[in-house]
Amino acid sequence: MNWLTSIVETALFILLAPLFAGWVKWVKCLLQNRRPPPLVQPYRDLAKLFRKRPMIADTASWIFEAAPFVVFVTAVFAAGIVPFAIAHLPTAKVADLIVLVGFFALGRFFLTLAGLDLGTAFGGMGSSREMMIASLAEPAMLMAVFTLAMSAATTNLSQAIDWVLQTGLVLRPSFVFALAGLMLVGIAETGRIPVDNPATHLELTMVHEAMVLEYSGRYLALIEWANQIKLMLYGVLIANIFLPWGIAESLTPRDLALGFASIIGKLAVLGIALPISETLFAKMRVFRYQEFLGFAYLLSLLGMLSHVILEVN
């Protein structure tokens, strides 16, 4: 029963991910005085891509065709282990936060290989930059995760949420720093402004788009969808770890309704905050990434140190 619930929840997560992406885009358009596309536009795009015949270059190997599936499956799997509206699910036991980071890395491994597979300069450039961002973002992300894990004495997401709920609303300096660090990492890892621009196709600036430039049809759809899942995943992580109140602790209809309402509300707020920051800041030069991500690492490190110094005992 519990396993079934978590499968249903994961399916719901995946299905809602394009909506969240559409919401972010909608808010951003309004903020920039443009006419927004309808909220369901990402669904239409995906549907169109799934119905198209993909084209594959003559130099491609099987890696090129396998990569979208790996990327998509890792994203789905990650969505499965992160508590969405219900705190206690058996899937959270299968893999913890560190495995989650590992799964992101696995998806990235294949995507960067796919970027190199055709032997074009664009793909290589995107892969190379993506690996630089990953190398700098991963320690910052794990440092933030460790702060949380050491506070809650667990890397299991359900247990960590439980711990936050039980200890109540306390202002912990370590959590504030870790939250800030994780937000910066999330921006970098999901390819948003100021690190990458999901809307650009200008050669010199793109990272993610450069890697997937050669994809079309259902392969592109899988990658786009995986990206939307990943974006929402960071939103859910931030919302549920740092502000878990409202999440369903049992499977009663009332709790479930409250759980879904609260997570959707939190995501809606995050979906406004992200476009605001994207509108306020301009994209950075590639070789200022290390400053941005170094700052994220520093914040996470401060979080860790303040936990060790201020909060133990």
């Binding site: 084209m55 560190i98 190379s128 440092m143 299991n156």
Partner: protein, 707 residues
């Protein structure tokens, strides 16, 4: 089981002796060699001599590698049985000094490492016959190669079995000298001679440190005995124990390639024949790790937390620098060698954590750290051996070692490429393969830092863990580069474009076996940890029973509340999700159009030189971490009058050196040279001076005696 281990030893020695028959009897001077050669030459030479010559050589190679495989298998069985049964066997050989027979001992720790050696040797022995055939045409004698390989393997097995310091050092030196000869095997290249000399020099320095370390402990032992039992009982003062620890860290760290004692490793490992590189990186480094464990955890015993902090620090530095340097290499084998430094760093991080926890009285947490490190030892032996063997296949088939001249091999060598991909994923520490499990365990150990009472350690340990995360990401980048540039894209040289799969089946069998083990070790971590239990029980008095207490599906190192990971379920879920999405999307009506050209921005004529290169791929991190590298970059251009867009010549040169050379080794070498020159002054070459020296020495001695 000790008998079986001795059989393994004999097998390795026989496989060393056998190739000697290839030396021509007329040319050889040694009596034994001559006899062997005569004996073996009696049969051939009847029909066409040429064919028989080839057949004879081939038979010798197969027999030598067959014996080596047998030796590996025997070690594997002996090691596994000892480990699983948790038993200890001791014996003495009637060899050695008159008052000190050779003591042998096979306990769970030795059994584990014997098993690791056995697996590596077995895989390499399967691979070897196909690989060494190419040396026949280049005029290198298999006699030298086979002899040294056999002695090398025997030396490694003997190190693990030794139970007294004397035999240990003999075996250790046997291993060092044999591997030196193997590094120098293709000595016609000046770089190889230089690398082998550096290796020999550092091995000697390391051995001196080890002899001193053993000497200190033996000085405190009862009756100045050299058996490990006596050394264990030696009552050392904390200061002397720390000095012995420091010496052991230098000695074993030098062999294992810990930064800053690593300089020989990236020089020596790549230049040996590839199957020997695989043995050196995959297996020999583990023997050094074994020595460290035996000396510190077993012989010294009373661990101090400062030792743990030092080990953790050196391990972290090795891991970070190893990964960063590996990423910048363009030579595939050199990249692998640097990555070995990184992996040894991860192993020593595990040891360091274990030592800190053990010294602070947290036995269970120390057991997680130790088991994480041992798990990584096993994993690294699997995937690094695999990767070096595959690098050897690439070298064998293309005669190219630089990534800049490879590319597109996935189409020319599909099977080799697939096995290589498994190795790359495993070494990058990605789930659900084995590299991830040991890194995950190391992270879990580090996260228990809250248990420590010292605030400095409590903040230092998580920072080390975050650096481990950095290492993991950079390693993944390095192997994306190795695979993406080397195997994907379009071929960058004629050799790469025309390469084909190797014909010899063993060249697949060895690596494929290792790849299968990489998957298995990743998916069934509970069983592996259960098998490692006896080691931590004997060394630390704790095993990790909680890790597999919740059934074989679950890995819960501390408790199921703190952290759990279920590799089989992860694999199942991923396979299921992949299958579902694949089936849903497999619509024949929308089958992809396959033969389209790549996007060339409308200019046309994309060629292999327009691809991203290996140097370009690693440029961003090179720029970000430029203070850590010794970068020598030169770009020159010759302009042709006013045509700025079409220069007459462009030249780009990039050399990335190791910082430790300029700031550590070179000053040291100059210092030694300077000191030698100063001391040399007393050598006047004048006989009267020497008589004066003798006279004054005599006087001094007399004064000492009479006083």
């Amino acid at each position: 089981m000790l008998v079986l281990a001795t059989v393994a030893l004999l097998g390795a020695l026989l496989s060393a002796a056998l190739p000697l028959v290839q030396i021509d009897a007329e040319q050889s001077r040694g009596l034994v060699v001559r006899f062997l050669a005569h004996w073996a030459r009696r049969r051939p030479r009847d029909r066409t001599a040429q064919l028989d010559e080839q057949r004879f050589k081939s038979a010798v190679e197969y027999a030598a590698f067959g014996l080596l495989a047998g030796s590996g298998l025997a070690s594997l069985v002996a090691g596994c049985v000892t480990l699983l049964a948790g038993q200890t066997r001791v014996d003495q050989l009637p060899l050695g000094l008159p008052w000190l027979a050779w003591h042998l001992r096979l306990d769970p720790l030795a059994g584990f490492f014997l098993g690791v050696i056995g697996l590596g040797v077995f895989a390499v022995a399967l691979y070897g016959p196909g690989y060494v055939r190419s040396f026949r045409h280049s005029g290198h004698s298999f006699a030298t190669l086979g002899f040294c390989t056999g002695v090398f393997v025997a030396g490694m097995e003997l190190v693990v079995l030794a139970d007294d310091a004397f035999l240990f050092m003999i075996a250790w030196e046997l291993m060092s000298v044999a591997s030196y000869a193997l590094v120098a095997f293709q000595h016609e290249h000046a770089a190889n001679r230089r690398a082998s000399f550096l290796y020999l020099l550092m091995a000697v320095v390391g051995a001196i440190a080890l002899i001193l370390a053993y000497g200190i402990v033996a000085a405190f032992a009862s009756a100045h005995s050299f058996t490990f039992d006596a050394l264990r009982a030696a009552p050392l003062s904390p200061t002397w124990a720390s000095i012995a620890f420091a010496l052991a860290l230098i000695g074993f760290g030098m062999k294992a390639g810990l930064v800053p004692l690593h300089a020989w490793l990236p020089e020596a490992h790549p230049v040996a024949p590839s199957h020997v590189s695989a043995l050196m990186s995959g297996v020999m480094l583990k023997v050094a790790v074994y020595g460290f464990l035996r000396f510190v955890f077993d012989i010294l015993g009373e661990i101090q937390w400062q030792w743990g902090a030092t080990t953790l620090l050196l391990g972290t530095v090795s891991a970070v620098l190893g990964a960063l340097y590996a990423f910048q290499q363009n030579n595939l084998k050199r990249l692998l060698a640097y990555s070995s430094i990184e992996n040894i760093g991860i192993v020593f991080m595990g040891f360091g954590l274990s030592m800190i926890f053990f010294a602070k009285g947290h036995g269970e947490l120390a057991a997680i750290g130790l088991i994480a490190a041992l798990y990584h030892v096993l994993n690294h032996a699997m995937f690094k051996t695999l990767l070096f063997l595959q690098a050897g296949t690439i070298l064998h088939q293309t005669h190219e070692s630089s990534l800049e001249r490879l590319g597109g091999l996935i189409k020319r060598l599909p099977r080799t490429s697939f096995i290589m991909l498994v190795g790359c994923i495993a070494i990058s520490g990605l789930p659900p393969l084995n590299g991830f499990v040991s890194e995950w365990l190391t992270f879990q150990t580090a996260l228990q830092a809250s248990a420590l009472d010292s605030g400095i350690l409590r903040s230092f340990v998580p920072v080390a863990a975050a650096l481990l995360a950095f290492t993991g990401a950079v390693t993944a980048a390095a192997f994306v580069k190795a695979y993406g540039i080397g195997f994907l894209g379009a071929p960058r040289s004629r050799h790469a474009a025309h390469a084909g799969e190797p014909l010899h089946r063993g060249m697949f069998a060895g690596p494929a076996l290792l790849a299968a083990l990489c998957v298995l070790l990743g998916v069934l971590p509970g069983q592996v940890i259960a098998a490692l239990g006896p080691i931590s029980r004997t060394l630390l008095g704790n095993d990790l029973a909680s890790a597999y207490a919740n059934g074989w599906l679950w890995l819960t190192p501390v408790s199921s509340r703190v952290a759990s990971y279920s590799a089989p379920l992860v694999l199942l879920a991923c396979a299921l999700a992949a299958w579902v999405s694949f089936r849903l999307l497999r619509t024949p009506k929308l089958a992809p159009v396959r033969d389209r050209p790549r996007w060339d921005c409308g200019f046309g004529g994309l060629d292999a030189r327009m691809q991203y290169t290996s140097t370009a791929f690693s440029q961003p991190l090179r720029r970000v971490f430029s203070p850590l590298y010794e970068i020598d970059e030169r770009a020159t251009r010759e302009d042709r009058g006013h045509a700025l867009l079409t220069p007459a010549a462009l030249d780009f040169e990039l050399r990335i050196g190791d910082r430790s050379w300029r700031h550590g080794y070179l000053p040291l070498a100059h210092g030694v040279e300077g000191a030698a020159r100063q001391i040399g002054r007393i050598q006047t070459g004048n006989i009267r001076t020497y008589i004066a020296y003798s006279f004054f020495t005599l006087l001094a001695l007399l004064a000492m005696v009479s006083a």
